[in-house]
């Protein structure tokens, strides 16, 4: 029997019992719609969670630190010798120029950017107002490579310039402020020259201050990340300030940097690259690891949700099996006839299996369509809530409550068809193995 003939016969037979096929398919429609909608809901949650992480920082960045040896937290003096103490950086793997070269040579690394923080207190001062932003420097002329988005101004860092986070730029205080007085209004510092006051203490406890002039060239967009309350300055400036605080020159080959920011060429390589860097003896962490952890969690949620939806599909499968069993009883003489005129057992089995699979496919198509429609309704209903969430989280735009991945409808159709096929297996087998003469005489 030709495949096309088999197919046309299957659909012809399904067309003969439209009402029953439609009623049976309704079960599959509900089952498939449940699977698709629940998985789409879990996918939507996953995408929203991922988007929020993506908002925090650049997923291609690997933060590399010197590896800290594990050790006791408390220090103690035993016979005049210091024992224990908190973890200390491994001396042979500091983040010096050699480390930068070593990591830069790894495949998939786009750039290695040293980063350091101010070791001494520093505050911005505008009039009476003061701002204690967290200060760090990156050895890169343009901060945009680190994925730091700007709300205003320029991302280029030169000596004597700084870029400040939006939240930090709002966070000013007046040292003379007293309760009951109105909160001071944040000054507009963008493209303005401001004073930055560094503080250190001498060994006898005397406070020494140093005032430098900084031009605020940009504002980092608020993204719930570390740049919100930070001020990023030029690395040379920062090194100079730390040297002033230490009272001696810093030799990077001996002391290294606090941190290296390794930018991977591709998001897909980030985790592998982080593992490679860890194997080199450094400590590496990535936002991608968290995202993957979240993804794994949501994949499990998707499977659980899909499984819950599949229960209704199982009920539908029983409906298909019942319909097919009834059809075989009703068409027993027809089966006998088909065998009498030359149909093989395989032909008969294919016809009935095809009909069962056809019910699954029709139901699956209806289910996908229904799920798509319901997903749109859910998206509309949840749009307001998600927009509020997105605004709170600092995301660019609100996500959707549900997400139907392109593979999902295809999977749902294949799955419902396979469910139909499996449901029809036993009835089809019964039909195929009927003895022709008994089938012909069946009343």
């Amino acid at each position: 029997m030709r495949f096309f003939d088999l197919l046309s016969l299957i659909f012809y037979n399904l067309g003969r019992r439209k009402g029953r096929v439609a009623l049976t398919a309704v079960g599959v429609v509900i089952g498939t719609a449940s699977v698709v909608l629940l998985v789409a809901l879990a996918s939507g949650l996953q995408r929203n969670a991922t988007r929020q992480f993506a908002g925090i920082g650049d997923l291609t960045i690997i933060n590399v630190f010197p590896k800290f040896e594990a050790g006791p937290v408390m220090e103690a003096s035993v016979n005049g010798k210091i024992v224990g103490g908190s973890g200390q950086p491994s001396t042979n793997k500091i983040l010096n120029n050699q480390a930068i070269e070593e990591i830069s040579a790894l495949e998939g690394v786009a750039q290695v950017i040293p980063r350091d923080s101010l070791h001494y207190p520093g505050r911005l001062k505008v009039g009476k107002l003061e701002n204690y932003a967290y200060v760090f420097a990156v050895a890169v002329p343009d901060t945009s490579i680190l994925g730091y988005e700007l709300a205003a101004g320029s991302s280029k860092l030169e000596r004597g310039t700084a870029i400040i986070g939006e939240a930090a730029a709002r966070n000013w205080n007046d040292p003379n402020w007293r309760p009951g007085q109105p909160q001071p209004e944040a000054p507009d510092i963008l493209n303005k020259q401001v004073r930055f006051i560094l503080t250190r203490w001498t060994q006898d406890g005397t406070t020494v201050e140093k005032s430098v002039s900084l031009r605020i060239v940009g504002l980092f967009k608020e993204r719930r990340g570390e740049t919100d309350y930070a001020m990023v300055v030029n690395m040379d400036d920062l090194t100079q300030w730390n040297e002033w605080g230490d009272g001696k020159r810093i030799n990077r080959n001996k002391t290294g940097y606090e941190q290296l920011m390794v930018k991977a060429a591709d998001t897909r390589n980030v985790t592998t690259l982080a593992d490679t860097i860890t194997n080199l003896g450094y400590q590496a962490s990535t936002l991608q690891e968290y995202v993957e952890g979240i993804n794994n969690l949501y994949t499990i949620i998707q499977i659980v949700f899909g499984g819950i939806g599949a229960i209704s599909l199982l009920v539908a499968a029983i409906g298909i099996a019942n319909t097919m069993t009834m059809a075989i009883l009703e068409r027993t003489r027809e089966i006998g006839l088909m065998k009498a005129i030359g149909a093989t057992n395989r032909n008969v089995m294919s016809i009935f299996l095809g009909e069962a699979a056809g019910i699954g496919l029709i139901g699956g198509m209806g289910g996908v369509a229904l799920a798509w429609g319901l997903a749109q309704v859910v998206n509309v209903l949840a749009a307001g809530y998600l927009a509020t969430q997105a605004a709170q989280m600092g995301a660019d735009s609100a996500g959707q409550a549900t997400y139907i991945a392109p593979w999902l409808p295809v999977f749902a159709l294949v799955f419902s068809t396979v469910v139909g096929l499996l449901s029809g297996l036993y009835p089809a087998l019964r039909a195929a193995t009927m003895i022709p003469v008994l089938a012909l005489k069946y009343e």
Binding site: I341, N345, R346, I435, L438
Partner: protein
């Protein structure tokens, strides 16, 4: 003219088990049906005529004994081969017509060709030719419910011929028809025989005998002579 044996059965037995009861539908039947003959099998209800016909057609398997059709031992055929045998060698005509109610006459006649992998165009052409041959050219698009019993049986005959089989097996083909229509079906079967086919008809209708080249009588699952058969059907005189 010498005719070769087309169908040979040897010690053919068929026993049905119904609960604790064993019914011997055929109890050692030896028959030889000649090629291109018109064989009429007669016998009372339960004599085993239909069982014999179905065994010859490969619709059932014997309990024991052999059936050789056109040199082929049916016992040696597996289910697939038996289906191919039914498709290519045998054409069935049933008392109940057994047409698919949702199909038109044309679709019913063409139906067996689907299982032979014949292309749709050829199927339709062949079915049309046969419907014309049985005088139903104007009823091709009619469904069984729109046709008389005689017309339905002629559709069934056309369907039996669609694969051009050498052996036509008819089980009470006139059983559901009135006298006149039944006779026209008999003539139709006689024409098939005249066209060179081997025809075996199971019937109660003695009018069929006038077309027969061979007659076979079955009684309690065994072949008997005409005299024995007639004696069995005679009403005993009240003593």
């Amino acid at each position: 003219m010498d005719q070769a044996a087309f169908v040979i059965t040897q010690n053919l037995r068929k026993t049905f088990v119904m609960g604790r009861t064993r019914v011997h539908a055929l109890a050692g039947v030896d028959v030889t049906i000649l090629e291109k003959s018109f064989t009429v099998i007669m016998g009372p209800s339960g004599s085993g005529k239909s069982t014999l016909l179905y065994l010859l057609g490969g619709l059932d398997r014997p309990t024991s004994g052999t059936i050789i059709v056109n040199g082929q031992d049916l016992n040696t055929l597996d289910e697939n081969a038996l289906a191919v045998y039914r498709r290519n060698t045998v054409g069935f005509v049933f008392q109940q017509f057994n047409l698919v109610s949702s199909m038109t006459a044309l679709e019913n006649v063409a139906f067996p060709l689907r299982f032979g992998g014949v292309a749709a165009g050829l199927r339709s052409k062949r079915a049309k030719e046969l419907l014309e041959q049985v005088g139903l050219a104007k009823h091709m698009r009619h469904r069984p419910v729109e046709m008389s019993g005689g017309q339905q049986q002629r559709v069934a005959i056309a369907r039996a011929l669609v694969n051009n089989p050498a052996l036509i097996l008819a089980d009470e083909p006139t059983g559901n028809l009135d006298t006149v229509t039944g006779y026209s079906i008999m003539q139709q079967l006689a024409e098939l025989h005249a066209g060179g086919r081997t025809v075996v008809v199971v019937t109660h209708d003695p009018r069929m005998l006038r077309f027969a080249t061979n007659t076979m009588y079955l009684l309690d699952g065994q072949c008997v002579s005409r005299e024995e058969y007639e004696a069995s059907s005679r009403v005993p005189e009240a003593g």
